[in-house]
């Protein structure tokens, strides 16, 4: 029988190894798996590469993981938010590597990893500093850059409800990167507001089918 629901942070994060690439959902705090990221400090994995739209805020969630010295590199589109002090400090001290890429390119690169695409051509960043060093090619008279898939070892995502099979639905704009990251990692762990049995979600409205999800942890009161 399939039951992807787990009951502790230990179970949820078991097996995440040093050196992993972690895809962390969220746009600002909306959809960010804050509690999973904090539990990852206790779990102990080091030397992580984190893919996340932003680079943490305050001293919680991703910022806490970074403050604990676990993150070697951040791949993001927009590391500046109100209160993004940790990334500022670590970067200034040369203690973290920062790779900034266009938001849509990060998202599409993860989707490519999910879809078995070896590479794709996009106009975004062509002719700019962020396109430098990338292979280019013209299609229909317009310059494109070649982008490669961006795959995660682990995805940590936040959803609203998860069922026994790992099917997920989300809440409003907290959906953001969750569905794509869930598809793009070898091990996908979702924190949710509530868990239900298989068959309780509307099959027409499931956003992330359970095939993409490995573990579902209910984190009460996280909203």
């Amino acid at each position: 029988m399939i039951d992807k629901r787990v009951t502790s942070f230990e179970q949820a994060l078991a097996g995440i190894e040093d050196g992993s690439t972690i895809l962390a959902s969220g746009f600002g705090n909306a959809g960010s798996p804050i509690e999973l990221l904090e539990a990852l400090v206790d779990q102990g994995a080091r030397d992580l590469t984190v893919v996340s739209n932003n680079a943490g805020e305050g001293e919680f969630g991703l910022a806490r993981l970074m403050r604990a010295g676990r993150v070697r590199k951040i791949i993001c589109s927009y590391p500046i938010t109100s209160g993004s002090v940790v990334v500022d400090e670590l970067h200034a001290a040369g203690k973290i590597e920062l790779e900034v890429a266009p938001q849509g390119t990060i998202s599409e690169r993860m989707r490519a990893a999910a879809a078995g695409i070896g590479g794709f051509y996009t106009r975004t960043s062509a002719g700019t500093m962020l396109g430098e060093g990338k292979e280019t090619r013209e299609f229909d008279g317009r310059l494109h850059v070649l982008e490669r898939p961006l795959k995660g070892d682990v995805a940590l995502i936040r959803a609203k409800t998860g069922d026994r099979w790992g099917n997920l639905i989300y809440n409003m704009t907290a959906r953001n990167f969750g569905p794509t990251m869930a598809m793009a990692a070898d091990l996908t762990i979702a924190q949710v507001d509530e868990t239900v049995d298989a068959g309780e979600l509307d099959p027409e409205a499931i956003v992330t089918p359970g095939i993409f999800v490995d573990r579902v942890l209910r984190v009460p009161g996280s909203r």
Partner: protein, 227 residues
């Protein structure tokens, strides 16, 4: 003397682990779903946008909007989900299924699969999702009779029919044997009772080794009407 279609399907079903995500190709592979051992929860994927495919419904509950890849009426089990075609093929091409079971015209000793066209088709060419499944799925199982009706072997050094994908087949289940495709070529894992490796080799178009733990391929008697 060999297994019938249902028995091959039964044998394949025994090897599908609980919790697997599985695509069954159109035709003979569809029978596999009928023989999943009690207690295992297998999630069947259908290329037309469905995870959690259940058995066919009673006649009066058929819905033309709920079909499988073979365009036959099916059901959705609790936990199932609908999605669009590109997401469905993302699952296939991105390697998210655990395994697929495909029919085969020919399988080469390097795992090439030919299952979509012959060299003298009278019908129009038609590939469907076969190339996507064969190229994308981590574990590709071929289900076929060991030889064609005219006795020609289907396990070969090289396929002579157009390929579906190169180097993808992991294991072949036939009426006579279970054969792994390994870096060293074909390795028989099970042969039906009463047939020697040499006799199986005679029916195979490429060198065939025996697994260290070579066993007997057997299946219970099954009504031909199952499935």
């Amino acid at each position: 003397m060999g297994l019938d279609r249902n028995q091959i399907a039964w044998r394949i079903a025994q090897d599908i682990a609980d919790g697997s995500y599985v695509n069954l190709g159109i035709g003979m592979p569809e029978l596999v779903a009928d023989f999943i051992p009690e207690g295992r929860e297998i999630v069947f994927h259908s290329e037309n946008g469905l995870l959690g495919m259940g058995p066919k419904p009673p006649k009066d509950q058929e819905d033309p909007d709920l079909m499988n890849a073979g365009k036959k009426p099916v059901t959705l089990v609790p936990g199932g989900a609908y999605f669009h075609h590109t997401d469905s093929f993302l699952m296939i091409r991105g390697g998210h299924l655990d395994l697929c079971v495909l029919g085969a015209y020919q399988i080469s000793e390097t795992g090439d699969l030919a299952n979509w066209a012959t060299n003298n088709d009278k019908r129009l060419p038609a590939v469907g999702g076969a190339m996507d499944l064969a190229a994308g799925t981590p574990r590709v199982i071929a289900m076929t009779t060991h030889c064609a009706r005219d006795g020609a072997p289907k396990l070969l050094g090289e396929c002579t029919f157009p390929l579906t994908a190169a180097g993808v087949v992991d294991r072949v289940y036939t009426d006579l044997a279970v054969v792994d495709v390994t870096p060293d070529g074909f390795v028989a894992r099970e042969i039906i009772d009463g047939m020697s490796l040499a006799e199986l080799q005679d029916r195979t178009g490429a060198p065939l080794a025996a697994a260290d733990d070579l066993g007997i391929l057997k299946a219970p008697a099954l009504g031909e009407t199952a499935g």
